[in-house]
Assembly symmetry: C2
Homo-oligomer: 241 residues x 2
């Protein structure tokens, strides 16, 4: 199956960034990479492409944007600039990724363009795009590292809105009131044994302790583990008496 989203890096200066982009592509399951006029033709050797050299090896080097976006029915550019007079729709990444997913859902091919580290996409390169999107960075420091920008865009493409508020972890059953009471009792014995609880404060200490134990919301198996530890301490103290 050919990958419906193509990543296009235009005039990237640093092979490490190209390698980092390839690694993020592998992390999120994208494989179609085209590189337009990289400053270093040996970009395929990038050391930062940990476990992702297969993407660099099958990437295509192009001399023009037109060649890089061939076959795509949607071309999307990325920009760090929020308020340039762009004459082209500009969306936040959250919205843009949704529009991209809708396009890809009809098994149409799309390209996502990233400009050079220093200048971003030129006006000429942008003129090939149907629309632009920007990562919602601070306006005071909008420009991101290229590898990080690619990673964030691909994460957002794979993000599952439905995953929010669906805990992946089943909370273990909380301790029963019997377990809590056993825990309270052995702790109370320890306080008496150590002399912390005195005759005249015995009752109020026990009350405080019981309330405290109910507040800590301990799991059943943790209560059993604690009980074992504390009983051993108590046994040792009584032996030493």
């Amino acid at each position: 199956m050919s990958d419906p989203l193509r990543i296009v890096l235009v005039s990237s200066r640093n092979p490490l960034n190209i390698g980092a982009a390839a690694r993020a592509m592998s992390n999120f399951g994208f494989t179609d990479l085209r590189v337009v006029n990289p400053y270093d033709v040996a970009y395929r050797e990038a050391r930062s492409a940990v476990r992702s050299h297969y993407i660099l090896e099958q990437s295509r080097q192009c001399s023009t944007v037109v060649e890089a976006i061939a076959g795509c029915t949607l071309v999307v550019g990325t920009t760090a600039v929020g308020n340039r007079d762009l004459h082209i729709p500009l969306y936040r990444l959250e919205t843009g990724a949704e529009l991209l997913r809708e396009h890809l859902a009809s098994s149409a091919k799309a390209a996502l363009l990233f400009g050079s580290e220093k200048f971003g996409l030129s006006n000429d390169e942008m003129s090939h795009c149907h629309w632009l999107m920007r990562i919602p960075t601070r306006s005071e420091h909008g420009s991101m590292n290229l590898g990080q920008a690619v990673a964030i865009c691909l994460y957002e493409m794979r993000r599952q809105a439905a995953a929010v508020n669906q805990p992946a972890f089943e909370k273990p059953p909380v301790a029963s009131s019997e377990e809590l009471e056993r825990l309270t009792a052995v702790l109370m014995d320890l306080l008496v044994e150590s002399g912390y609880a005195q005759e005249r404060t015995l009752e109020s200490t026990e009350l405080k302790l019981r309330r405290l134990i109910r507040r800590i919301n301990v799991a059943s198996n943790d209560a059993e583990a604690l009980l074992g530890m504390l009983r051993h301490v108590l046994w040792k103290m009584r032996q030493a008496r």
Copy 2:
């Protein structure tokens, strides 16, 4: 105002990654960085921290995780491993970021821990965490570059669910039917002038053209611009006759 989310990098090997983490922090407006046992004590010079040296300069170097998380009421670890027997809740980033935001909303302090590039967080380091979260990478290639992982987590923290489907761009008004008809007329004149439209196909060509022009959904100002261009071409052709 002190920053409620602290980023803690544990045993990072590569100062470039620490610099990249600082840059992402600046991009998304976080400032509180602590570094536990970095392999290179000169990490503050990291060249990759473009425009973010202020974060490295005010970062604190710690010798233990305990020192790094001091003052935090929630400690969250990150892991690339989805199925390790962790004995601790593990959430996808989408969910974890939501839980973190809820905690920070009560102006309580939280720490977000990232382990070393090679091994991630150790079991000992994880034992300081209330829960863990993972970026939803492919299971076949889960391990991310450290700088990219930090960038994605901070993006998700700043992500606005409400931004989805809220176009930041006002579509310009579409062309009126009068403008579309003027466009059709001048194109038709061009087709006649050039000999494309012949006497016997005149009517059917005009029909096709009128339908085509209605399908392209051109904006009002673009229709006027096109009209100007085409009228000039027509004028030139008639002059050359």
